[in-house]
């Protein structure tokens, strides 16, 4: 069957199970949009800037576990998309991005809206393709989806010259993808799994250190079973939040630069550290030489190049987190280890952790006059019972959201971890909302971060995506301010964003609902109103601009050298003031 290339593309997307494309048309991809005109079964969501298409595809992918798809034109559209591709690369998010390209005979001629797309995206993608023949379209699309979602997931870019989209070609659809050069290893080595199980049972001060790999492998149930079976406390990275319930007695919550005191102390004093789908990022380890210095390190990861990259690993296990954790559970059960003996072996350790938790819980100083940002997050957590899909931008608000939201399940937390892309929040929330129309999707953003993609309020309105945005508004780039305050001796430079724009007016200009609160007593009613509004809402919360994120490990410092919150009043005291209790 001969079809124009553009039609072949759409047929292939449909066969791959794609139901939504995030995109923005332009000259080189007009044949695709012409084919979309009367093509059944694909929803196209028109964004306002190309990076937003990429982030929305990321949100869709993270929410569903399936591949997110975006489509933009050549040249500037592709260069705009690069940020989203690199973001997906750093956070291992499976997306396939299609870009237009000038006709093949013009490639390299400095044609209108031409850029060396595959050259530019090469280092920002897991793999990329330039289609040079219409009959390759099917096999390339098949491979692109296969590569994106298998092994360590990641973004794949397919560049489509305009003449290929117009010319008719045979639709070739291979049933199976066979690539001799790409065969990820899913099953962990049984001998290594056994070694790891023995080490975990021998340990008196073990910790499970869990990253986003557990979420992308859908291994949260296995993780919980293993943790409960072995009674090993669990700390998660920023990307791993939701893999283990925050309120679980074994939970240490987040570790690293802005991690909890008890998580960082537990990791530092551990004798066996089990890293699962995490990559020893510098924001987690701090000074590498001082990270878990006494621990035997077990590292489970699908990507062999992650192992022993930053830190020498004692027991490497290359494989899919879910399968390896299943193997570990079986191996632990086979070891003749009496649960009573296990408990007594770790009793001192659990007592020590409880003591750390009692000494240094997450806390902040309550104020009756000015809204504390942490309080806003706590109330969002209370009022949604930890059941909302939480998206963030990048900055202080992101860290407070990570610290104070009580996560209950995986695939409900969306944040730019590796790349730290400001402006990530709103477009990603659109992707999440498009994937789950009935869910409550809340974008917790900063006034600096939100501004980087605020034009997408228009998309929310026109595409009926009732995303709720809470702007933690401290009139500036708060995280930069915090660093300048603590590390650069209060030499504040280029951080002020005085109340411009008026977010309520801007929201209304985009057809959204705008709300503003300035006093602590208004917070709960405003959040309730926001949650019950069936339209996109911008809730502008004017908060204390001097508030800092604590604990804080200065970059390059050891995790035990945390700067802690000024010890004023315990979080417990504040709970009385909370109108919903938590």
């Amino acid at each position: 069957m001969k079809l124009p290339g553009a039609r072949i593309l759409l047929e292939c997307l449909k066969r791959e199970g794609v139901d939504i494309i995030f995109g923005l048309p332009g000259g080189a991809v007009l044949p695709i949009y012409d084919a979309l005109y009367d093509f059944e079964g694909l929803r196209h969501i028109l964004v306002r800037q190309e990076a937003a298409a990429g982030h929305a595809a990321e949100g869709y992918a993270r929410a569903t576990g399936r591949v997110g798809v975006c489509l933009v034109t050549s040249g500037p559209a592709c260069t705009n998309l690069v940020t989203a591709l690199q973001d997906a690369m750093m956070d291992s998010i499976p997306i396939v991005a299609f870009t237009g390209q000038v006709p093949t005979h013009l490639i390299g001629n400095d044609a209108f809206q031409e850029a060396d797309n595959v050259g530019i995206t090469r280092s920002a993608t897991k793999h990329n393709f330039l289609v040079k023949d219409g009959k390759d379209l099917g096999p390339i699309i098949r491979e692109a989806f296969h590569i994106a979602v298998t092994g360590r997931p990641g973004p794949v870019h397919v560049d489509l010259p305009k003449d290929i989209l117009v010319k008719e070609a045979e639709l070739i659809w291979p049933e199976k993808v066979v690539m001799r050069s790409y065969n990820p290893n899913y099953d962990g080595h049984p001998g290594q799994i056994k070694r790891a199980a023995k080490a975990m049972l021998r340990a008196t001060q073990p910790v499970l250190y869990v990253g986003g790999g557990v979420i992308s492998a859908d291994a949260h149930a296995e993780l919980r079973e293993l943790a409960e079976l072995t009674q090993i406390p669990v700390t998660t990275t920023l990307m791993g939040l939701g893999a283990f319930p925050s309120a679980h007695p074994l939970s240490l919550e987040m570790l690293g630069m802005h991690g909890t005191y008890y998580a960082n102390m537990a990791v530092h004093h551990s004798d066996v550290l089990v890293a699962v789908g995490a990559r020893f990022d510098d924001r987690v380890t701090g000074k590498v030489d001082a990270f878990a210095p006494h621990a035997e390190i077990i590292h489970i990861d699908i990507d062999p190049s992650s192992i022993s990259k930053n830190l020498k690993v004692d027991v490497p296990i290359v494989g899919d987190c879910r399968r390896v954790l299943r193997g570990l559970i079986e191996a632990v059960k086979q070891e003749k280890d009496d649960p009573g003996a296990r408990q007594s072996r770790q009793a001192a350790w659990h007592a020590q952790i409880a003591e750390w938790k009692r000494l240094q819980p997450l806390r902040y100083e309550w104020s009756d006059d000015v809204i504390k940002p942490q309080y806003v997050i706590q109330e969002i957590s209370n009022l949604t019972r930890g059941d909302a899909m939480i998206v963030t931008g990048v900055g202080q608000h992101q860290m407070w959201a990570a610290q104070y939201y009580k996560f209950t399940r995986p695939r409900a937390w969306f944040t730019s971890g590796g790349l730290g892309t400001m402006g990530y929040g709103l477009p990603t929330a659109m992707g999440v909302q498009a994937a789950h129309p009935g869910k409550q999707v809340i974008n917790i953003d900063g006034d600096g971060s939100f501004q980087m993609n605020s034009q997408e309020m228009a998309t929310c309105f026109t595409e009926h995506l009732p995303v709720k945005t809470v702007i933690i508004n401290n009139s500036g780039h708060g995280m930069v301010r915090q660093w300048q305050r603590i590390i650069y001796k209060e030499r504040y430079c280029a951080i002020d964003l005085p109340q411009i724009p008026d977010w309520v007016k801007l929201a209304e200009a985009y057809g959204c609902v705008g709300l503003r609160v300035t006093k602590p007593s208004e917070v709960v009613p405003a959040i309730e109103k926001m949650l019950s509004t069936p339209a996109p809402v911008i809730l502008d919360v004017i908060v204390d601009k001097d508030e800092c994120v604590f604990p804080m490990v200065p970059a390059g410092g050891a995790n035990t050298d945390m700067i802690l919150a000024p010890p004023t009043r315990e979080v417990r005291d504040k709970a009385e003031k909370s109108q919903t209790g938590f």
């Binding site: 050259g119 090469r122 280092s123 793999h127 001799r180 050069s181 062999p304 190049s305 830190l311």
Partner: protein, 190 residues
Amino acid sequence: MSGNGSEPRKHTISVLVENKFGVLSRVAGLFSARGYNIESLSVGETLDPSVSRMTIVVTGDEFVIEQVTKQLHKLIDVIKVNDLTDDSHVERELVLIRVNAEPQHRAEIQRTADIFRARVVDVTPVSFVLEATGDEGKIEALLELLRPIGVQEVVRTGKIAIGRGPKTRVKRAPEKRRVSDDPRVVGFAD
């Protein structure tokens, strides 16, 4: 993880890749993105025309080389990565040298070339072009002797390498041979 572990040394890494456009820039990009310096790189087709072999020489300690190997393997178009350095292997490089050849030096150049089994492949009234093959040590020794006479230009192919013995990197031909009868597995002496 840099600076710890073993001393840096030269490694010869043999990489089988899909013979597709863009593969070379993927490999080169991998090195440049991480600040690793490629000392030499040569590419050519293998017995299977859909597969190319790259021979890459890179200097690094064991952690750098481990990362290089893993990162190479991570590239989708890379089929196989082999660090030949500590395996038994033969390596060669081809070099073309244009050297001053005034009448009073011609005989000396000729003699030197003979000793190194190099050949004169071009002659002008004032210069010779020599062609020589060998491992790095031999090429360096030849250049050392020619330098006082006046080397005008040197062009080197970069190192290529092959494992010794019956072990082959591409799928072996289906017919069975007894190793001892196979003339290709003996006689590698220079």
